[in-house]
């Protein structure tokens, strides 16, 4: 795409470049303006409502970062929703018995461990990630149901709930801090490190990457482990925000996360992606939920309109991107 700045057809190439690269931002802006005008008297533009959107999408954003790495490497992780529930429950149960630090280790550890299992099966047993994570999605959904016999577990440790979801620092809610920090680190690793370049090279052409000396199995193991760990973090954020954990947490998030990542400009088959795009994609999903509710639409109408808008956004963002 950098060739857009050279050559004779600079104008048309640049306009294509812009449309493809910035479609998520333009789409976000268009939807924002639409709601801002339509809902000007309905509280959409209040600081409270806008900050709610960011808070509500924080776990999805965190999971989306992991999925950008996974999809950029040409893989997929369908198990993130189940990891959220396992991690949240592991943390909640452990906090009740052994305190906050142990709870955090248990929650994140569960996520990383499941990610490692996914990664090892994909990288070293050479099974397709779609099938591996489809299986572990079901497997760990079962584990989360049996962990507490379907019961929800309260999280009463106020330091934990404050740190992971309900509190704030310098007047900024902790969920916003988590989002900002995760996006900053994710973006730096993805764009500025050799690891990030290797992930993209693996997704672009695994054989070529392997020939050029990149350990493709290690990259696959790493991206799925990162995704598991970040889904674990999302589980902690849900537990902190709800002050409770239940097996249903994260159950409905997978499609939202995938949509956010793709709308944000990451290719389904690897080689190209954007962390910041995923953030904007995730905020777009949250804004859609929020705005359609505030418009007073019935639930069925909300689902239809949301589906149509996502379809449009995905279609526009994927157009002409096939390599």
């Amino acid at each position: 795409m950098s060739s857009a700045n050279t050559g004779t057809e600079v104008g048309s190439l640049a306009s294509r470049f812009n449309l493809q690269q910035y479609v998520v931002y333009l789409g976000f802006l268009a939807i924002f303006l639409f709601f801002a005008i339509m809902l000007r008297d309905s509280g959409f533009l209040t600081v409270r409502n806008l900050s709610n959107i960011v808070l509500q999408t924080a776990p999805v954003t965190i999971m989306a970062i992991g999925l950008v790495f996974v999809m950029s490497a040409g893989e997929i992780d369908l198990s993130i929703g189940s990891i959220v529930a396992v991690a949240a429950l592991a943390a909640a149960v452990t906090i009740a018995s052994y305190g906050m630090a142990a709870g955090i280790v248990a929650g994140l550890g569960a996520g990383i461990l499941i990610g490692l299992i996914n990664g090892a099966l994909v990288a070293y047993v050479r099974l397709p990630s779609f099938l591996v994570t489809l299986a572990t999605m079901g497997l760990f959904a079962g584990v989360s149901r049996s962990m507490t016999d379907l019961r929800s577990i309260s999280v009463t440790n106020e330091i934990f709930t404050g740190f992971f979801g309900s509190g704030s620092l310098l007047g900024v809610p902790s969920l916003i801090w988590w989002t900002v920090i995760a996006i900053a680190i994710g973006h730096l690793v993805y764009r500025e490190t050799r690891f990030g370049a290797h992930v993209l090279a693996t997704g672009d052409n695994a054989r070529a990457a392997s020939v050029s000396g990149i350990s493709v199995p290690k990259i696959r193991l790493a991206v799925l482990t990162i995704s598991g760990g970040l889904a674990g973090l999302a589980g902690l954020l849900y537990a902190g925000r709800l002050q409770a954990a239940k097996y249903t947490l994260g159950e409905t998030d997978l499609m939202t996360v995938i949509a956010a990542v793709i709308v944000g400009g990451t290719l389904l088959n690897g080689g190209k992606g954007s962390i910041v795009g995923a953030l904007v994609g995730s905020l777009m999903m949250g804004m859609l939920n929020n705005g359609l509710i505030l418009m007073g639409l019935s639930v069925s109408d909300q689902m239809i309109v949301r589906g149509l808008i996502i379809l449009t956004a995905v279609a526009v963002s994927l157009r002409d991107k096939s390599r």
Binding site: F44, T46, N49, S152, S154, R241, A244, N290, V299
Partner: protein
């Protein structure tokens, strides 16, 4: 620590309510005595006050189904009658985190009333606190957040007479089988107050009131999508079952298809909630013998009325229960009207001709 203890106390009282209800009386989730929903009325002066108040309401549902639709329609109709504008409606898809987000979102419209069914009562305080703290009148279906006080934190709870529903299902099963025979029991294997109460009441009724009937097979169902497998296993192991109770209508359809696949015409099914394909099978003389339905529409009407009334000083009772009806082939028309406030679907009306 004190907070943990108080939560445990509330949980313990919830379980105590479960145990008490299984003895034969429906109580609220905190042991409240049920008051008939029909007894709640507003005076003409109160209704005028509500109309003059230009109030608004948001409907924050746990999920959308035929049942929720009926509750929703009842609430909307009653609000319309009282001049209360419904400004938002949401569906949490049984996800507590999403329900929290929904409450936060609808708060942007500053509703005077929120009607809701808490997905997870044990932890719902964190879901509804933003609305409670803002002084929104909260009205609940079936359950309330643990730790909330009726009258100060929320207006009232309106629910089915859950014991009556399970009990009527037991009676309907007995009638269908001539009060004797072997029964299969497919219950909801989840910690969910409503289904647990109804399932328990069915089982108690059969065990206590019908000595010649026996629950010969039991299976828990956590995921409705897997109910056909469960039914298949049950009828393979017990081909001589005379009846099967299924916890609600959607999984009952899977049980029906398993029976059909096995060429089984003698095993009767009794289940809960009205459902068109199930009712169609019933009127055509298939396996379905009875559908026990609550008056879901009345739940919405009662909850809307109590919550709107509370804005003009009405003091609601803590717990209202609506009636239920056992709908059979003979009563399907009246049943539809009473439960859902709708005419029976055309397919069923045609089949009855």
């Amino acid at each position: 620590m004190r907070k943990a203890l108080s939560i445990m106390t509330v949980l313990a009282s919830l379980f105590a309510a479960h145990a008490f209800a299984a003895q034969g009386v429906t109580t609220g989730p905190n042991g409240e005595k049920p008051v008939p929903a029909a007894s709640l009325t507003l005076t003409a002066a109160q209704e005028q006050q509500v109309k003059d108040g230009k109030f608004t309401a948001a409907l924050v549902w746990h999920e959308m189904s035929e049942y929720t639709n009926a509750v929703n329609a009842g609430a909307r109709d009653e609000f319309k009658r009282l001049g209360v504008e419904v400004v938002a409606q949401t569906d949490a898809g049984f996800d507590a985190a999403r329900q929290k987000a929904d409450v936060e979102t609808v708060m942007a419209k500053k509703p005077s009333i929120i009607l809701s069914l808490p997905v997870d009562p044990a932890t719902a305080a964190s879901v509804y606190d933003p609305a409670r703290q803002a002084g929104v009148k909260l009205g609940f279906v079936d359950n309330c957040p643990a730790g909330y006080k009726q009258g100060t934190d929320y207006v009232t709870i309106v629910s089915d007479d859950l014991f009556q529903m399970g009990n009527k299902a037991g009676i309907a099963m007995a009638e269908a089988l001539g009060k004797k025979g072997k029964v299969g029991y497919i219950f909801h294997d989840a910690d969910f107050y409503v289904t647990n109460q109804r399932d328990g009441a069915f089982k108690k009724t059969i065990e206590q009131d019908y000595p010649d009937m026996k629950i010969a097979a039991e299976a828990g169902m956590a995921d409705p999508a897997r109910s056909e497998d469960i039914a298949q296993a049950m009828i393979t192991q017990h081909p001589d079952l005379d009846g099967i109770y299924v916890t609600w209508a959607e999984p009952a359809l899977s049980v029906l298809s398993a029976l059909r696949a096995a060429g089984n015409k003698h095993t009767k099914i009794v289940t809960l909630d009205l459902n068109e394909p199930a009712a169609l099978d019933m009127v055509k003389g298939g396996n379905i013998a009875a559908l026990v339905a609550d008056e879901a529409y009345s739940i919405g009407v009662t909850l809307a009325r109590a919550s709107a009334g509370s804005l003009v000083g009405l003091k609601a009772e803590p717990f209202y229960a609506v009636d239920s009806i056992a709908v059979t082939k003979e009563t399907v028309k009246e049943g539809w009207k009473k439960s859902l406030n709708k005419d029976v679907p055309a397919t069923i009306a045609d089949a009855m001709k």
